[in-house]
Amino acid sequence: MEFEKIYNKKLNETLYKGRHKSGLMVYVLPKQGFSKSYASFAARVGSIDNEFIAPGDTEPTKIPDGVAHFLEHKMFEQPDGTNSFDSFSKTGASANAYTSFTTTAYIFSSTDRFYENLEILLDYVEKPHFTDENVAKEQGIIGQEIRMYDDDPNWRVFFNLLTALYEKHPVRNDIAGTVESIAKIDKDLLYKCYHSFYNPSNMILFTCGDVECDKVAQVVDKYVTNAPLGEIKRIFPNEPENVNKKLVEQKLSVANPLFMIGFKDNDLGKTGSEMMRKIIVTEILNRMLVGKSSKTYNSLYEKGLINDSFFFEYSCEADYAFAAMGGESTDPNAAKEEILEGIKKAELLEEDFLRCKKSLIGRFLRMFNSVEGLSNVFVSSIFQGMDMFEYLDICESVTLEEARLRKEYLFREENCAMSIVWPN
């Protein structure tokens, strides 16, 4: 296979990109001096993909919540009764997998024998083996994983916020599903999802570290033999623009109340550079409004309404997006009021805009310090059609005016919902 070489002078980084005959997109990002090399074999399927028309089908398939995550667990099981961890234990690699709203990724990092590990990775993800027994066993393990998250207040406050923001969109469901929903999963369902989504044309292979294109290509040729399938049609319900509920509350065993405020972003459908621009503008704006140098942050902090746990973020996909912020608070309702008031009154000044932009540039550069972190960001951005090498240029070009417009559009009280976890 042929690779295209893309060099970025500002970053002093090179990315190689190639399309395999199977439809698989293969990426190589060489990093000098690092001990670890990393590979991510990722399928574009996550917890939100619970209704779809598989290639070749005419009728939609609806599946219970938690299938993508269940499938991730079960991929490790091998036809000969072993577990792919057993294979990695012979090379010393550290292997794992994760499922997000939109992505399932099988990953390893290793300091030795990279191509051997890459063979193990591609081999096991290409070989599903589901039985009634191994599905039943996993229901016990994932059941405990769900119970663990039930006790995790940071997880709960976040997912409760999503149920407040969204009425229909499946982003409101827990990634692992529920004990009830995973009870409905059987091996046929897993095979159906596997064959629909784990096709090379719906996957990418991202490698990073002490890695060479030719050698990666050889391994891909050997293990990825499927032909590309047609398009998967993903079906999402029509989500209303309004928030589902203004407030969701829960009691848990915590010391202080935790809260999150979310702003539902209905400016959707963007991909690629346009999406990246929207993300960058919103991230700068977040810093200007509630970042550590903002008037609002300092006022809240000095009144004891927030503490060091306060954070903010912006999540953006093609068909859902939201800005969120929160942390511990002795009085979440007072904190919310003051945040909304502070945002409304905030004057957006050029000086603050430029400084927050610099801060964002620093965060972007810092990302290149970790082969794993870097690879995971690249994987999700590739699925969103974004080119991370454009980041610094787009960052340079965004203007204060865009931030002002964005503020008026996104940070409105009508778009806002809140989640609180109270001590029980």
Partner: protein
């Protein structure tokens, strides 16, 4: 990544971990104090107050603006437990100037901040101290929010009740109110600034220039004691402690505390690392394969070592009703280790994985600083390559000898109502 160390003055050492692989540099300052009830709280408070302001930027907001302008430089401060000692740290992470406009000297501005925030405070604002006192109380209480970490921490507290290691590094809620800004400044000036200190720089800088700047910065600092606080490894264990506590939670958390009686400066230390790996250090381990995969009792069941104290904690999240089953299975695997029931595959997987994990550490500036800090404190200047070659030579017999010396000390169970 090799280490170059130089003594700036009595009790103050500068260490340079040179690498070009990162796009940022890191500067960390570490003060060493013995862990004791009388000052754990004030040390924790100090680490939070010094990042609120300094003579150069007296207001938090102004300091935050400066950090943002320096391309989002990050300052993280806090306290860490290292065996029976408490380390007060503050770490600055900032972009390497090669990646941004050269017109703005980032490193020089950061050094000015280090001087002002860490070594040249002139007093603390009353309002900041009282805000941070409230925050510290919240932080101490909020430890219960993370049930997995909380159960492990309670296990250590119960197990080491009579030792400094059993003290929570964040201190005690009841001791917070009694501290005022005067006490805090007095403690900073006369205790902390007179304690042994290590300064780490990781990345790619002009180290001769930095060394000069640091020498100037520390001109008036005089360290009284140059010795690191010592840690005692307990070898006599009385009766096994059994404690069950209740919270309103869904999943039970089982934590078992073991004493390995092996210190990081012992010859047997590499064998101890392999022992822990075979027992519960990864997906190839006995705990993962039996408690999780075979019996389907848990999502996580693992063991971890504290190299400073020779303590090993097993953690698992289980249904409350499965307590006995999970406990029995963990102890069955524990006994299997001592009986020498270790396969060649388990040995080789443990060695490969431990070597991989240790080599991976060199890819993080924070992790490497912490590694060398640990080596300095324990007086074992072993670099990564030396440790790896020792790990590769560990035999099954050595692991069994370590295993036979490990004892269960404490069984802690956090269960729902």
């Amino acid at each position: 990544m090799s280490i170059q160390s130089v003594e700036i003055k009595n009790g103050v050492k500068l260490h340079y971990l040179h690498t070009k692989k990162f796009k940022t540099n890191s500067l960390g300052v570490y003060f060493h104090r013995p862990m004791q009830k009388s000052e754990a709280t004030i040390n924790a408070l100090l680490s939070n107050v010094i990042k609120r302001g300094c003579p150069l930027f007296p207001r938090t907001k102004e300091l935050a603006r400066q950090l943002e302008a320096l391309y989002g430089s990050k300052v993280v401060s806090g306290v860490r437990k290292k065996g029976d000692s408490q380390v007060i740290y503050i770490n600055f992470e900032f972009v390497n100037e090669n990646y941004v406009l050269k017109s703005q000297p980032v490193m020089e501005n950061i050094l000015d901040l280090v001087k002002s925030m860490v070594f040249a405070q002139e007093g603390f604002l009353k309002e900041y101290v009282s805000q941070e006192k409230e925050n510290l109380k919240q932080l101490i209480m909020a430890q219960m929010n993370d049930k997995r970490a909380y159960a492990a921490q309670r296990c250590v507290e119960i197990m080491c009740k009579q030792e400094p290691y059993g003290i929570c590094e964040l201190g005690f809620i009841d001791d917070v109110d009694g501290i005022n800004e005067g006490d805090l400044f007095e403690h900073y000036k006369n205790v902390v600034l007179k304690s042994p200190v290590d300064i780490f720089i990781t990345g790619d800088v002009d180290i001769f220039w930095v060394e000069q700047k640091i020498k100037e910065m520390l001109e008036y600092i005089e360290v009284k004691s140059v010795k690191y606080p010592e840690t005692v490894i307990i070898k006599d264990i009385g009766e096994i402690k059994n404690v069950t506590e209740t919270q309103n939670i869904a999943q039970g958390k089982l934590s078992l505390g073991f004493r390995t009686k092996t210190a990081s400066w012992d010859e047997k230390y590499p064998a101890l690392l392999i022992y822990n790996a075979v027992f519960g250090g990864g997906p190839f381990s006995k705990l993962f394969n039996n408690v999780r995969e075979k019996l389907s009792l848990a999502y996580y069941a693992s063991s971890r070592l504290d190299m400073f104290k020779g303590v090993m904690i097993v953690n698992s999240g289980i249904e409350v009703a499965n307590f006995q089953k999970a406990y029995d299975e963990i102890m069955t695997q524990f006994k299997a280790m001592a009986n020498g029931d270790i396969t060649d595959e388990e040995m080789s997987a443990a060695v490969l994985s431990t070597v991989n994990n240790i080599r991976s550490m060199t890819d993080s500036a924070m992790v490497m600083e912490d590694y060398w800090l640990g080596r300095l404190i324990t007086g074992t200047a072993l670099d990564i390559d030396e440790l790896i070659s020792m790990l590769k030579r560990v035999t099954k017999q050595q692991v069994i000898e370590v295993a036979q010396n490990v004892d269960l000390d404490t069984v802690y169970f956090l269960k729902g109502v």
